[in-house]
Subunit: 407 residues, 3 copies
Amino acid sequence: MEHTHIGGDVFFLLTGAILVFAMHGGFAFLEAGTVRHKNQVNALVKILVDFALSTLAYFAIGFPIAYGISFFVSAHELAGLAGGNVFGAQGLTLVKFFFLATFAAAVPAIISGGVAERMKFLPQSIATLALVGLLYPLVEGIIWNGNYGIQATIESLTGAKLHDFAGSLVVHAFGGWVALGAVITLGARKGRYTAAGRSHPFPPSSILWLSLGSWLLCTGWFGFNVMSAQSLDSVSGLVAINSLMAMVGGIVTAAIAGRNDPGFVHNGALAGLVAVCAGSDVFHPIGALITGGIAGIIFVRGFHICQERLRIDDVLGVWPLHGLCGLWGGIACGIFGLERLGGMGGVSPVAQIVGSLVVAAFGAVAGFAVYGVLKSTIGIRLDEEQEYRGADLSIHKIGASPEAEIR
Amino acid sequence: MEHTHIGGDVFFLLTGAILVFAMHGGFAFLEAGTVRHKNQVNALVKILVDFALSTLAYFAIGFPIAYGISFFVSAHELAGLAGGNVFGAQGLTLVKFFFLATFAAAVPAIISGGVAERMKFLPQSIATLALVGLLYPLVEGIIWNGNYGIQATIESLTGAKLHDFAGSLVVHAFGGWVALGAVITLGARKGRYTAAGRSHPFPPSSILWLSLGSWLLCTGWFGFNVMSAQSLDSVSGLVAINSLMAMVGGIVTAAIAGRNDPGFVHNGALAGLVAVCAGSDVFHPIGALITGGIAGIIFVRGFHICQERLRIDDVLGVWPLHGLCGLWGGIACGIFGLERLGGMGGVSPVAQIVGSLVVAAFGAVAGFAVYGVLKSTIGIRLDEEQEYRGADLSIHKIGASPEAEIR
Amino acid sequence: MEHTHIGGDVFFLLTGAILVFAMHGGFAFLEAGTVRHKNQVNALVKILVDFALSTLAYFAIGFPIAYGISFFVSAHELAGLAGGNVFGAQGLTLVKFFFLATFAAAVPAIISGGVAERMKFLPQSIATLALVGLLYPLVEGIIWNGNYGIQATIESLTGAKLHDFAGSLVVHAFGGWVALGAVITLGARKGRYTAAGRSHPFPPSSILWLSLGSWLLCTGWFGFNVMSAQSLDSVSGLVAINSLMAMVGGIVTAAIAGRNDPGFVHNGALAGLVAVCAGSDVFHPIGALITGGIAGIIFVRGFHICQERLRIDDVLGVWPLHGLCGLWGGIACGIFGLERLGGMGGVSPVAQIVGSLVVAAFGAVAGFAVYGVLKSTIGIRLDEEQEYRGADLSIHKIGASPEAEIR
């Protein structure tokens, strides 16, 4: 009986892992649809290879850093057949690794959308290894595993731990603010802003692929959030309905604020989902709706500010989407999670605000540091000729529609 | 132990909800691939925004109408932590809401394919709110929740309730017949039928996107049908195999009747799945195969009759697909569900025939009423110039392939 | 309680079935993206119709051959409500059928990619019926159900049965080697190799669709492998992490060996997954990584050898992908499954090597036989004119982008 119970948890976490893995397809197609045609192949390959490298780095270093568990023991122990080991029966911990590896790989996938169309392949791969192997697990371990006693300190100071149920901060704010550092270090695409200072936006290649990317992300996100409970005993329908309502809120406000623009509507859904992660287990559905609705507006306004005012050439708007909406999600958790606002309580507004700002700041510093070091050593940018031809032909020797192009 | 049991049901229903949510991506891409290029963006945005509005209307009004449960209580009660509440432990009812909300949102998604390429955005949004907030929950509550004692009356008259396990009638027939009213009220696209009365079919923009839509719908449909059991104690493999066999039947007959046309083959799979919903828990797999096979033929013939004989410009053929095949499914449930035809029994042919016709009639009346009122007040149709330019540029100010089009 | 336990297994197997069903969409889009534009529709329709015919053949003949269970009994018995029947409570065996039917249908889906662009529709349909109805179930029954006592004999000779947990041999090697016979029997596409003997590769139509196909296959593959446990009591996280690591290994080595070519990278992921199926329950994750990494190289090198040296016009490279990597997976299971190499043990290198070679040889013979008979009777190849126009217009009377093409 006990066995089946654990089998259920293995199945539950596996389903979550598969759903979040599918989100990486979403990242790939969202980027491929948003960049120009000449950089579509690069978007697809970059996401897939980054996923592979992330998994290797997280397997060898990252997961051990965050959770103190190493896989360099026999398969018998891993499968949980040897008595008294740390892996749980039926290899439960191995599925937990799979689930969390798909989270870790979201960090380079987020950055990828910001640095698209002019980044070299090798430095992006190295940055992935450094971020997923070392820096992300540091944040993850502190917030989700109580490493270094920092959560205990926060709790003793504010009365509650920094609450981040499904990673508005750990994954999205961290990834989005790293991306900000990366994008600024990299510089804008040629022609994006003229010498005279005028903005010249590049239209996306395909709304259909952009939309497919968004759908894959939205669908998988319910695994991202609900399966973060990590067991059938603690799964809650509240997380599901809150994710739904926040997504809906993001769609509606982004449709209005973005004047029915398809890019804003499809990214608005994601904005709501980014923001709801942290508090999805403590919000009332109406709190989630408001949180997501505000996120939709943050994305639309943030995108404009980022690209037009600050002149930061963040191609997919990953800093507003993951960075700003993730930050907002961390803070919103301290507001709409309060019992007096219909929430479940147990959160501290002070802890949430300070914690969210610290995670964002750490991400930005990490982004500038990692991409700065790479820039000053091996270089991070395609040369002008390569960028002009496009990353597809320059790096992959083939375009996205080879038959039509070769003719 | 009890707890895990409920956790399993939460997980089960959540998986169903995710699968049916993914079907909405399928609706979007099926429509985008079938309409002309200049209306693809509109198809995508319409489905996503309709989904969001549906969820809001169903949350605030629809679900309370159908099931007498309101969400305007504290998160503690929603999560099922407070003793003796109606929401079940671990927020079970919240996932049930999510699952059923994805069903409710199928109604505007079905209609969307019929009214494509010339419908204004605002009236479609209002129609969505009215249909999902008020009219659909009425049907749903009567058939699935026994509201107003109507099922009890049917049972006392015919010996069995109106059986509609997964919604051939509640969702598909209702949605398809509403769509008929909407499409007739709206009128045909400019140029679809010439003044001299000749039919001038518009070829679909992309078989690939049409196919992707169909695949997403087919895949999610197994959640639509099997998870309609709503608990692990009542889930049955019979529903799964019957859905499979009906889909297979639809593919084979539509391929033959439709002479290997890709549109017919891909929609034939859906026709079989529409028809099997009602009786998927009572059919023998061979009964399901026949039901689906007949549905494939109904779609191919119905599509031709609708578009060429009746000159109803139902763009995706949603009336033959959901309306006629749904009606057929409701009736077939009363035939192949009988024990003497290998089925599980417990169904009444009379109840199924009469009930199916009533649901279809109610849908048609609702369609004419809702779209008729909107037509005579705010108007429902793009003006000629807008229709000519396409809904994408007219409503969303951008086409589906912006980079190529702006060049 | 017992009931819920079985409900959990029904849900588990159903999820596996849905995931593997979705892989067929992956087969369709992988082929559509790799072939030339004029054959995309044919790819999509062929996969869908083959799936339907496979299911029929497997329902009527194949599953009964492999497992000795027939569905021609009442729905009551099928649903497991009649006492003492073979179908298990809650229709468990029916979902098992669904799950295994999606495996069986992979055989024609694999072949489809090899014979693309010049195969007639009817003989391909007949081959599907013969392969899935008769030949595949023979292999499946012998290896997975112990039919004819052959596994018992292997065990008595080598100390262990032929181990093929999730079908590197049963599905992939068999399908890939049948495809080799089919492709050779069919002959190369017109113009692929010039009369003077020069190779003239046809570039793929769309990397985006190729990539989507790969993503759908990768995602569903976790159901293919993990759900092969067939019950919650025997599910193991080890299978999940091994599948992940092998996929990652295939991506990395194919990216390097294939010089970042998108076709190689996306198929490299599949190569790793093909190879890991057999031993996914006995490998250490590092053994899985190595197995997948070698598979990535086998695919890249094998593709070149197949197409350029051997001049076999296997369009998608299904023989290197499924045939060679499947064969390698069967053998690798006997190496990295050994306890001294970190594995779980219980495998025999001799049994694995000999068994793998026999399955491959049987597949090749079956392929030459089935397609040879069809060639010498009804013919298997489009005529020159049809091939030149493309299978889409020749067979389906419509192209993949009808609106653009008809203009």
